[in-house]
């Protein structure tokens, strides 16, 4: 492994590899989960959340997952954008 190719690898990351960007499926899956859980949480009654100590976990956790999923999608699109230029 010479120094030059090592540097190149670090700069371009996966783009010289042969496969799809893993950030996309993770991002889509987590965003979809977040949306589904969030909406479900908003339409369900309070009594359902007695077991989770009164927290509407579907809304709270759904929101968090949506944020993480969106983060992955953003990272993937930013990289694609940079590679495209």
């Amino acid at each position: 492994m010479n120094e030059k190719s090592e540097m190149k690898d670090q700069e371009t990351g996966m783009s010289q590899g042969h496969v799809l960007d893993i950030k996309l499926p993770i991002g889509w899956l987590l965003s979809a989960y977040g949306l589904l859980l969030g909406i479900y949480g908003l339409v369900t009654k309070k009594e359902m959340y007695a077991k989770s100590l009164g927290f509407n976990l579907n809304v709270v956790w759904g929101g968090l997952m949506l944020a993480i999923g969106a983060g992955f999608l953003l990272a993937a699109f930013l990289k694609k954008d940079r590679a495209g230029r």
Binding site: E6, I22, L29, L30
Partner: protein, 539 residues
């Protein structure tokens, strides 16, 4: 028996979404699988963070999670030994010292290294024993999942076993190791997102760590203080933990098990390969958060684990009962998907390791040598099919073992524990000869088997099955170590030139080409320091 958990349409939508994404990922990787190296080693093209997360997740199968929650309910904080003693040092050692020989020699598999360093016989012995082990382990994953579905959803064992097998078969058949690795990365995120709510709610209900301290028996709260005393719930002494688990079992597993090493070999360059286990070490240190805390919470909040019920409690059900206790529908589906994902990837990891070893080290070395690359690629796909088929059969064998985790340690100690002695001597002592390596390994495996038989016959006594496993690993390792050295002294040595690139000291040192922040040694030392601090805190 009524199912423990009732799922609704939202839960099923979440489970279904995961299966779809998995199959989609497998299918979209299909067109990239042009050569054997693409299928078996992801074309050696992946960045360190992906192989690192996959390296960790390959070991975070459903049975690991369920078994470790069970261990935590049974043994308390002492379960952290499986992480901070039994994993981190070995992972760092692999990255810093051993990976240069694995990745640097361009071998495709662990047995192939043994062939270059020792001889054909050593490779054959390891390849065959490893192939057997992977299908056993794959069967264990399948069974663990089927049992889970049966308890939880009331599905039939056979139905779940076949369903799981078909999904894994589909995506590994299409995408090979890449499919496996990508799903492991997805699983890494799902397992944390699925289990953390239980941790938060559990800690809130029992009143945080102060609640544990106030309500649990003292020996359950210390990892090391009670080792070797009769109050120690683990039933293992210092020697067993440090040498049996921390040294032999752990190094044997993390440094020579092709299942995990394969992930590092898929890296795009040697620095990423060395960073793979070290990147994995950091999240590995945090895994006790999602297994130990739920185990302790189960003891305090679940009636099934109250003082009166304990003698007959089924520890393996702790995690599932906690999900039922805390999670509303919706999040419940997510937690179950996380377990499903960790089961699938545990099985897929074994299947991909099996098809690679079978194709390169058994089929390509003994059955049909010198065929074209596309011939072996096709064979790899067939091997995926029959590997899955054998796993299905194995799943039924596992049913007779009550504690899955103990069984897993047992299987490791048969095959991996002696192997670590062979590697240690092979990589760091140029004097080890081909036949030394072969007979050392053979005697090591026989020692493990003999020890197991004597223990089962009642000739040898230990305080617990776990202690027996740890000691078995130690004796198997020692036997391999001593016999390898002994035989090597009387057999012909190889010329030093032939061992260049394979043995420490005979390999020219390459200057580090990366800036200090990207160096494996820097991060490895940091991981070790954190692990030591954590051990002291929970002493």
């Amino acid at each position: 028996m009524d199912p423990v958990i009732t799922l609704n349409a939202v839960d099923y939508a979440i489970i279904g979404g995961y299966i779809l994404v998995m199959i989609f990922v497998g299918y979209s990787l299909k067109k990239y699988m042009k050569t054997g190296e693409d299928f078996f080693l992801s074309g050696r093209s992946l960045p360190g963070w992906i192989t690192g997360l996959a390296f960790l997740s390959a070991n975070l199968g459903a049975l690991e999670v369920i078994g470790m929650v069970a261990n935590s309910a049974k043994y308390g904080i002492a379960t952290i030994h499986f992480y901070w003693v039994g994993a981190i040092p070995a992972m760092v050692f692999l990255g810093i010292f051993m990976m240069p020989f694995y990745y640097g020699s361009r071998v495709r598999t662990v047995p192939e290294y043994l062939k270059l360093r020792y001889n054909e016989a050593t490779r054959g012995l390891n390849a065959i024993s490893f192939a057997i082990m992977t299908v056993l382990m794959s069967g264990i994953s399948l069974y663990a999942m089927a049992l889970l579905f049966k308890l939880m959803l009331g599905w039939s064992l056979t139905g779940s076993i076949l369903f799981g097998a078909v999904v894994v078969l589909l995506y590994v058949f299409w995408g090979g190791l890449s499919s496996s690795i990508y799903n492991e990365v997805i699983q890494f995120f799902l397992i944390w997102l699925g289990l953390l709510p239980i941790v938060f709610l559990g800690l809130k209900e029992v009143g945080g760590f102060a609640g544990f301290v106030a309500k649990l028996k003292e020996p359950l709260l210390h990892s090391a203080k009670y080792l070797g005393t009769s109050a120690n719930p683990l039933g293992v002494d210092w020697f067993g933990v440090v040498f049996g688990l921390g040294f032999v079992l752990s190094f044997g597993y993390w440094t020579t098990d092709f299942l995990v090493v394969q992930r590092a070999l898929a890296s795009k360059n040697i620095n990423s390969a060395r960073m793979t286990p070290i990147i994995a070490a950091f999240p590995k240190m945090l895994v006790p958060i999602i297994v130990v805390i739920p185990g302790l919470v189960a003891l305090l909040v679940l009636p099934e684990f109250s003082q009166a019920a304990l003698p007959t409690a089924d520890y393996n059900s702790a995690l599932i009962l906690l999900m039922k206790h805390y999670l509303p529908n919706g999040l419940l589906g997510l937690a179950i998907t996380a377990l499903l994902a960790s089961f699938m990837s545990g099985m897929a990891g074994n299947v991909t390791a099996f098809n690679t070893i079978w194709t390169y080290d058994i089929y390509g070395s003994y059955i049909k040598k010198g065929k074209s690359d596309s011939h072996y690629l096709r064979m790899g796909k067939y091997a995926t099919v029959f590997g899955v088929a054998i796993s299905v059969g194995t799943a039924y064998i596992v049913q007779s073992f009550p504690n899955i985790m103990d069984y897993m340690q047992l299987v490791f100690s048969f095959f991996n524990a002696p192997l670590f002695a062979t590697f240690l001597l092979g990589m760091f002592w140029a004097g080890a000869t081909g036949w030394g390596g072969f007979f050392g390994l053979l005697v090591g495996i026989l020692t493990a088997a003999g020890h197991y038989i004597l223990y089962k016959l009642g000739v040898l006594h230990y305080a617990s099955d776990m202690a027996a496993n740890f000691y078995q690993a130690w004796w198997a390792w020692l036997a391999d170590f001593v016999v390898t050295i002994g035989v090597s002294l009387f057999t012909a040595k190889r010329k030093p030139e032939e061992l260049a690139g394979l043995v420490f000291g005979l390999t020219p040192k390459t200057k580090a080409a990366v800036r200090w922040l990207a160096r494996p040694a820097v991060w490895g030392i940091l991981a070790i320091v954190i692990a030591i601090v954590l051990n002291i805190i929970f002493w």
